[in-house]
Symmetry: C2
Subunit: 206 residues, 2 copies
């Protein structure tokens, strides 16, 4: 849609900024900008300042490379978490996903991606050296590889396996199998095959 000149350049700018976000077009951006405008100056200032502050203060945790408000993130500096188990993930979002399960109380290491020659991403582009450094500096007993089940994820898993082998740590990966709540009929055959090969003892529970 070809937008006419607006009576407010400030509104135009807000629409432009919002419409750069993924999945938000000009029309939606206008709707969102007018929503904020309607709420008044206080809301607009709070909204905007949040992103200015985020830009100024957010950083990578120097230990795990997760985003952090401080030099060392709140997970790394939390003494109640198990510092002997490190879960290796691709990105910040995966940390959030695993945290949401409330099933992991160890620490993390964010690689920043997976090895992908097609995209020109090699091991040196990832936070692998910093992971190996942690193996010598921290009392790590187990590394859990929680990468995507893609070709790139598998390649990265193998690369990490080779690099980690010399160290005295247990290396594990996330269990693969039929999703909970899924019907067998809808499970893809590779996953189903893996879940038969890697079947686990039946433990009666509620």
């Amino acid at each position: 849609m070809n937008h006419a000149k607006n009576s407010s350049i400030l509104l135009d700018k807000a629409i432009e900024e919002l419409s750069q976000l993924p999945g938000i077009g000009k029309q939606t951006a206008l709707r969102l900008a007018l929503h904020l405008l309607k709420k008044g100056e206080k809301t607009l200032t709070k909204f905007g300042q949040t992103f200015v502050d985020m830009g100024a203060n957010i950083q990578k945790c120097k230990v795990c490379q997760n985003i952090s408000d401080t030099e060392v993130c709140s997970i790394c500096s939390d003494d109640e978490r198990d510092g002997t188990t490190i879960c290796v993930v691709e990105n910040i979002r995966d940390v959030l996903s695993i945290e949401n399960t409330h099933q992991f109380s160890g620490k993390y290491h964010v690689l920043g991606g997976t090895i992908s020659p097609m995209d020109g991403i090699g091991p040196n582009d990832l936070e692998i050296e910093s992971l190996l450094d942690r193996l010598t500096e921290e009392p790590i007993k187990e590394i859990i590889l929680a990468l995507s089940t893609t070709m790139e994820g598998d390649t990265t898993n193998f690369y990490l396996y080779k690099k980690i082998q010399p160290y005295d740590v247990k290396l594990s990966v996330l269990a693969r199998g039929v999703s909970i709540g899924d019907e067998l009929y809808y499970t893809d055959s590779i996953t189903l095959g893996k879940s038969i090969v890697n079947r686990s003892p039946f433990t009666p529970s509620l």
Copy 2:
């Protein structure tokens, strides 16, 4: 979805701000915040500052009540526009819609809503007095009522008609009829009825 404590309060705040926008949930807000985060500090600062500036500087045009960056908006202060024709609309969005048609070169007056006793909105809650003031102060020859075709819009039209009658101005409303490109079969009977009653002379064109 129950979000776990995040490693960054700044990210949490950004998610909270984004998820207050209409149609944006926590998951989408997270995706948008991470998108901005990935673009880096400069993008975040520009994004945020836009809304801070908007909050600080945007105001209502003192003539037409449209939003403006200055005391008098760019439409009202544009001498190339026809100051004798005023189009009365409900809100800012309607100004944009009409501007997008490129068919109107007069000026506007933004009422701020329509008379709606159900919602407790009376004539005094709308910018009606300021419209009448303009009728004495400006060389206005025609007022176009471009309100919604709802009960509230019709009520407001009638109220404005009564108020404007004493002045020597032409009063018109938007033409109602079959939408261009619409098939008759899909046109609602009230619109179709009106379009027969208000039929216009056939003018051959390309």
